[in-house]
Amino acid sequence: MSERPVPSWPGDGPGSWVLLCYRVPREPSAPRIAVWRKLKRLGVAQLGDGLAGLPADARTREQLEWIAEEVVEAGGSAGVWLARPASAAQERELAAAMAAARAAEYQTVTAQAAAARQGSEQARAAALRRLRAELRRITRRDYFPPPAREHARAAVEALARAGQGDDAGAVPAARRRP
């Protein structure tokens, strides 16, 4: 697979971002935390205090619009903007930071999959279900897939094969980055 730092542009193409600027009241904290969790789950780039961004497409725009609505309902203020960065370098930096954040998540999955191979058959099956779901969630917020994604996939599939009598499970572990 490609080793470029920014593999391919998602959404509406290079330069097209959807931004959410928002201000949520400090109290009560529940809606503020709910908004924070949703933004985290979407994998936004936090561009500043109260400013989050994603590559623009129909889905990301819609998701940020729903969050804007939630902020307003919680007594805050929010707006959704379509924007272009002024320089390509700035955009590359943003994409690289987002890819790095996802890479860290994939590496956690890789490590957990490797650790789970030592468990009983039951524990392995439970870990496999959990890690496959986790991988799916990370992939969904992964707009600039880093190489760590393939390593995580391989580690999870190795876990699926663990205990089946072959030694296939050892291969992806060896491919893991130091």
């Binding site: 709910a34 949703k38 789950r41 129909a58 889905r59 819609e62 619009e65 729903w66 804007a68 609505e69 939630e70 309902e73 799916r136 969630r137 969904r140």
Partner: protein, 143 residues
């Protein structure tokens, strides 16, 4: 009655349109718009930012419509869990069907106009309703 929703129908809007036709307004006519400002006069908007029948708090539009129209049918609330997870994927509910519905709807919207997506998904939701109705009566997955 006229109803309006955002163009580029996905799971929540397809499910809402089915819900409206089956349980609220059998003669419902749907218009697809880009923005709340384009909703025709007299039409009821749903699943558009700023509309009453839309996402509220943790609810997706399908759940909002169930609440606003006092639809308490437990089968519809089970379908609401699937729609919610397919639309928002926030692990609020256990709905293993959701990722499948999400992909099926995304794929359909790539090859069909919105009106056609509604035509094709209506029998799917009818079937889903019947399946979960039987499951509820039996207390287990129906054969």
């Amino acid at each position: 009655m006229n109803w309006a929703t955002r163009a580029g129908v996905h799971i929540d809007r397809a499910a809402c349109a089915w819900l409206i036709r089956r349980f609220i307004d059998p003669a419902a006519q749907f218009t697809f718009v880009a923005d709340l400002a384009e909703v025709p006069v007299g039409a009821t908007a749903f699943d558009i930012r700023g509309a009453e029948l839309s996402h509220h708090g943790p609810d997706c539009s399908f759940e909002t419509i169930l609440r606003r129209y006092d639809l308490t049918d437990p089968v519809l609330w089970r379908i609401a869990q699937i729609v919610h997870e397919a639309d928002l994927d926030d692990q609020r509910y256990d709905a293993p069907e959701a990722p499948g519905f999400d992909v099926a709807l995304r794929g359909l919207s790539m090859i069909c106009a919105d009106e056609r997506v509604l035509d094709l998904t209506a029998p799917l939701f009818d079937g889903l309703y019947e399946y979960h109705r039987r499951a509820l009566l039996l207390g287990r997955d129906p054969a």
